[in-house]
Amino acid sequence: MERIVDIAIDGQHLSAYRGFLIVSKDKAEIGRIPLDDVAAVIVHAHGTTWSTNLVVALAQRGAVMVLCGSNHAPVAVCTPLEGHHGQNARMRAQWEASKPLTKQLWRDVVVAKINWQAAVLEAQGIPTDAFDMLSRRVRSGDPENVEAQAARRYWPLLMGEDFRRNREAGGVNGLLNYGYTVLRSLLARSVVAAGLHPSIGIHHANRGNAFALADDLIEPFRPLVDVIAVQLAARGCVEVTPEAKRAFAGLIAVDLPGENGTTTVSVAAGRLAQSLSRCFETGKTLDLVLPRPPSAIELAGLGSLIA
């Protein structure tokens, strides 16, 4: 089972002992987790200390360590330098990918994202004709920025007219930041494991962003976080509480419908990154394996993640 380790309380020390990540406070062990099971370590508490030994052990297993600001958005990510045996060839293919190819890949990602947004709205009983139309209008490289047009419609429909998506804000925005951080760490891990370089994106290229590729690939998955945030907010939870964190961490194990049967979100993320590296190598967009949007019933089932 892949697990998310979240460090939220100050004054703890993280270290590695044999096959375990050890969390200790005042030199006494308070928890241990098998290193092989760790998908990501997310650190919020600014007084946390850790051993280099642990960071090395995490990197060797392809687990990522994410450091967050007080708004729960990631500030820094530690990923392995080497994640795949064919890394050199793949990064070369990634770097040399033609402009038309990356533009087409980005179109496919945007279409998938809009379809996911439509699926989420539909599950809330909101008509989504406009989204079907928008997703058909996306052209290679999305020159008309249909992605933003969809977002402008999506947020008010999902969260109400007053809502503004703002990375710096708290409340529901903090919930979203946290949820995206969990997904982002998962995508960063998949990208590195597929032998790709996280800072060479297919669209998020010129934004001084070291995790551009993870930010590209996270797009279709984002609505999963949105659903949980809406359901939490409906229950009056607008703070990043342990319950909220638990719900978001559970997302990585949620089953999604896929080409070859049902797989978890974390497997779907891995397949997406693997298929992307194949696209770079073959120069064709055909085999990009994007996650399929779940049905309304399946999305409603996400509610069970909230205790």
Partner: protein, 112 residues
């Protein structure tokens, strides 16, 4: 989409129980090596010579079993048991004369 991360029928526990000879220094060294190997693989000590690990399902079990098979000491007995998370929940634990609380299953989120 059934939310499966806590499906007690898919999730399993692996228990490794061993009886290794420790009469010569070489034998104790081999026994220690095996014990440390289990720790490296994320098996937690349940009691002396009994180590347990949570796993995702059959495929992951096969992986661990193969690894254990490849790291067996020359002599001694090793038994590997698996049971489902549902069965694990029903374990009764005594410590001294007192009944101990059941161990909590691992959660997708480890919050500290």
């Amino acid at each position: 989409m059934t939310v499966t991360q806590l499906n007690g029928y898919r999730l399993m526990w692996i228990f490794v129980m061993f009886d290794l000879p420790v009469t010569t220094p070489a034998q104790s060294k081999a026994a220690t090596k095996f014990r440390e190997f289990l720790l490296d693989q994320g098996f937690e000590k349940s009691q002396f010579s009994v180590y347990a690990r949570f796993c995702n399902g059959k495929e992951q079990f096969e992986t661990y079993m193969r690894r254990i098979e490849n790291s067996l000491p020359d002599r001694g007995d090793v038994h590997i048991l698996t049971f489902t998370d549902k069965q694990y929940e029903n374990i009764v634990r005594f410590s001294g004369q007192r009944r101990k609380r059941q161990k909590k299953n691992p959660d997708q989120l480890a919050l500290f």
